[in-house]
């Protein structure tokens, strides 16, 4: 009823192979896009600039990581370092007078090259050992940023993003939001489509078993490096967008090890390799602590929780932890799978059984 399938006949291959063959899905996406485009009109600035904007950028970053971890199966626990390289490169390039559009691409390329260098470890090691190798990247990049004042921005280790314009539009005010939205849309469309290309299928083959992939003619050497290259490129630009559209002042702590873990959590809680999962995961990991903190604070103001500030501050952590454990127990495949279950239920509603 909600997802009406009767009467939808695909008479050409193109329509059957669309990203969203069911018309309702397509309409939902259009509505969401329209809502996102109109968000500055109906959302107060607090929610636009402190919730939705970072959510979009982090979703783009989680999508970049899910491309590497979910689609290509290469674990990466240093993705914050990848974003840091992108953020710092873009700022230094923009400061050197490079137009912002080129600075973004330049930052992506620099990040991709460095990310691929470290990704080369994936040619020899897999699984937990690859985690160690990427962790090393995190610590090396952190160390270099902190110890080279020319990169970190002098004694105060703070780099302000210069005033820039993107395609002749100054990047400020609601422009920041649209910049982030544009990047999130680009990455989303990219990742949605990559699964339908030979490149994407090669990555999936590598993920499932790399020597089996080699036997059927997929070159693991090439595709593992390409996976790191692509994901680092996207991650680098996400870092740059995060710096320019959101933080506007970059410090090394913004890309620390804990941020890498948060990114991995976004991908895992959302659902490995899923696009909607990246959005849901980023939303959960990024926004749940904020909502919980505010909820508990309001309860305290209303006198429901007569506790000291420091104890109050820990309640959201406990709830947050419980939620993560709960979600994993309830649906190990992540939030994306929960969404999928709901969608499948309505696909045949009011009947009970789904076919797929």
């Amino acid at each position: 009823m909600f997802y009406r399938l009767s009467g939808v006949h695909h008479t050409r291959y193109e329509t059957a192979r669309q990203i969203w063959p069911v018309p309702t899905d397509r309409r939902v996406v259009y509505i969401l896009l329209a809502l996102a485009l109109a968000a500055p009109l109906y959302l107060p600035d607090l929610y636009l600039s402190s919730y939705v904007l970072p959510w979009l950028v982090w979703s783009a970053a989680a999508l970049s990581l899910t491309l590497l971890m979910g689609i290509a199966g290469q674990l990466h626990f240093g993705f914050a370092a990848v974003m840091a390289i992108g953020a710092y490169s873009s700022i230094h390039l923009a400061r050197a007078g490079v137009p912002f559009e080129l600075a973004l691409i330049g930052a992506g390329v620099i990040t991709a090259v460095i990310g691929t260098l470290f990704g080369a470890a994936a040619l020899r090691v897999k699984g937990l050992y690859l985690v160690m190798a990427t962790l090393a990247m995190q610590y090396l990049v952190d160390w270099v940023i902190i110890n080279v004042p020319a990169i970190s921005g002098g004694a105060q280790a703070t780099l302000n993003t210069p005033e820039v314009s993107f395609l002749f539009m100054p990047l400020s005010g609601t422009g920041l939001y649209y910049g982030a939205l544009l990047w999130a849309v680009i990455v989303t469309v990219f990742v949605l489509n990559i699964k339908r290309t030979s490149f994407g299928r090669a990555l999936v083959a590598i993920r499932d078993k790399d020597y089996a992939a080699a036997v059927i003619g997929v070159n693991p050497f090439k595709y593992k490096l390409l996976a790191f290259f692509t994901a680092s490129f996207l991650g680098g630009i996400s870092g740059a967008v995060l710096a320019f559209c959101y933080y506007q002042a970059v410090t090394p702590e913004q890309f620390g090890f804990n941020v890498s873990i948060q990114l991995v959590a976004m991908v895992l809680v959302g659902g490995l390799g899923s696009v909607i999962g990246a959005y849901l995961g980023a939303g959960f990991v990024l926004l749940a602590p904020m909502f919980l903190t505010n909820a508990v604070a309001y309860l305290a103001v209303w006198g429901v929780l007569p506790l000291s500030s420091s104890l109050l501050a820990h309640i959201p952590l406990m709830v947050y932890g419980l939620l993560i454990v709960g979600f994993i127990l309830f649906e190990p495949l992540g939030l994306a799978k929960i969404y999928d279950n709901i969608r499948k239920y309505f696909l045949v509603w009011p009947f009970r059984h789904t076919q797929s």
Partner: protein
């Protein structure tokens, strides 16, 4: 799906703002204490925040600031800039005129925002040192000695009380972060002027393991060592220094060294260790006595009674005492309601304010938001931190060279 949720959030948000906005009246003002209760700064936040809340309660009990009651917005940021930004934006929308993050990463990320929004941000003992440059950072108030000033006070103490600096070997052992590195340029400059040998030794964050660093320090054979860390790394540094054969009296610490650290090291073991002190410790001060009487004894305290009078508690009290003094001057001069701009001007009118003897007399001007860079040296005597010098400031010319230089860089960037 996601934007449907977003719409709901927005609707809820509009409602929430409507409710809170309507409650605002002329005889109150709001400050945001948006601090790190759960991550990196936990070693100080509890006591510090407790001191702030108790002092605010005291002021409110005594009739407020010129008849204005102080309201607080308290949020945990977990030391994460994105949560800091959210908490700050919310506090700003609810009319906060002053914010305190007590977190260097969050404060640094917030500088441009408070300058744009004209909201006072106090960065006592954290944040950017060059924010002392009042004309460049009109809304940022370090209000206590920056790390540069602290290093100069400690070095000057060695110079005057521990046999001079000339020809000495001074080691700077620090946590490998911008904070640990911060005093290096001023100390290098002083080494050149005074003719002592200066060497730096970094240990990796979080500093629970420092033995490799200290074997290098031992090879250097320093006469004095400055330890520049915070939290769990500090007792480790002291223990390692003593193991390296240093007399505890030759170990001088940055401001982050408190009773808990001495207990961790072992109260007897730590005897003799020195530290920089920005605010007096203990309960023998009129403000603390009044807090005890009018807040704690009435059951209005914000935390455990044991914390009253500890190092970080008193620092918290002092930050709010300075802020309230600024608000008082502002309200006296300009009348209510208090705004960020009025508060800024009020803070800049503070002259020789010492919180009834609890802190060095500070004077904040339009140019100098540091308040003079005063402090003193205190020593652990086995039971408490006992002051061994008067309040003084040292080599402010070197400090201000550094402030000018970094502030000029900041101006260039913006």
């Amino acid at each position: 799906m996601r934007n449907a949720i977003k719409g709901l959030i927005g609707a809820a948000g509009v409602a929430a703002i409507g409710v809170s906005g309507a409650a605002k009246s002329d005889d109150t003002f709001t400050i945001g204490l948006l601090q790190d209760f759960t991550a990196v700064y936990t070693f100080v936040t509890d006591e510090y925040h407790h001191g702030q809340m108790d002092y605010i309660e005291l002021v409110n009990q005594e009739g407020g600031v010129e008849g204005h009651t102080i309201e607080t917005i308290v949020r945990d940021t977990g030391n994460e800039p994105q949560r800091g930004i959210e908490a700050y934006s919310r506090a700003r929308d609810q009319g906060a005129v002053l914010v305190d993050f007590l977190s260097t990463p969050v404060s640094r990320a917030m500088v441009n925002r408070v300058l744009d929004d004209e909201i006072v941000m106090i960065t006592a003992l954290h944040g950017r040192g060059d924010a002392s440059h009042g004309t460049t950072f009109p809304y940022v108030f370090p209000m206590m000695a920056t790390y540069w000033s602290q290093a100069m006070v400690l070095a000057d103490y060695i110079d005057r009380e521990q046999g001079g600096l000339e020809g000495k070997r001074i080691a700077h052992v620090y946590i490998d972060s911008p904070f640990g590195r911060e005093p290096v340029p001023v100390l290098e400059e002083l080494a050149e002027r005074k003719g002592f040998e200066f060497e730096t030794f970094a240990y990796p964050s979080p500093g629970t393991e420092q033995s490799a660093t200290w074997s290098d320090v031992r090879r250097f054979q320093p006469d004095h060592v400055l330890i520049w860390g915070a939290g769990g790394g500090q007792p480790v540094s002291v223990r390692e220094a003593i193991r390296a054969g240093l007399d505890p009296a030759d170990i001088l610490s940055v401001v982050w060294m408190a009773e808990t650290d001495a207990n961790t090291i072992g109260v007897d073991h730590a005897t003799g260790v020195k530290r920089f002190e920005a605010v007096a410790t203990g309960t023998d001060y009129p403000i603390i006595e009044r807090i005890q009487e009018e807040v704690i004894d009435q059951g209005l305290g914000a935390g455990s009674e044991d914390e009253v009078g500890t190092t970080y508690y008193n620092i918290g009290v002092a930050t709010m005492a300075v802020a309230v003094e600024g608000a008082r001057l502002a309200l006296e001069e300009f009348g209510g309601p208090l705004t960020g701009e009025k508060l800024r001007d009020g803070l800049r009118m503070i002259e020789e304010f010492d919180a009834e003897g609890m802190m060095p007399p500070i004077t904040i001007t339009e140019e100098d938001h540091q308040g003079g860079g005063f402090g003193r040296v205190s020593q652990w005597n086995g039971e408490a931190w006992e002051p061994i010098t008067d309040w003084f400031a040292a080599h402010q010319d070197i400090v201000w060279e550094e402030i000018e230089k970094d502030a000029a860089e900041f101006r260039e960037d913006n």
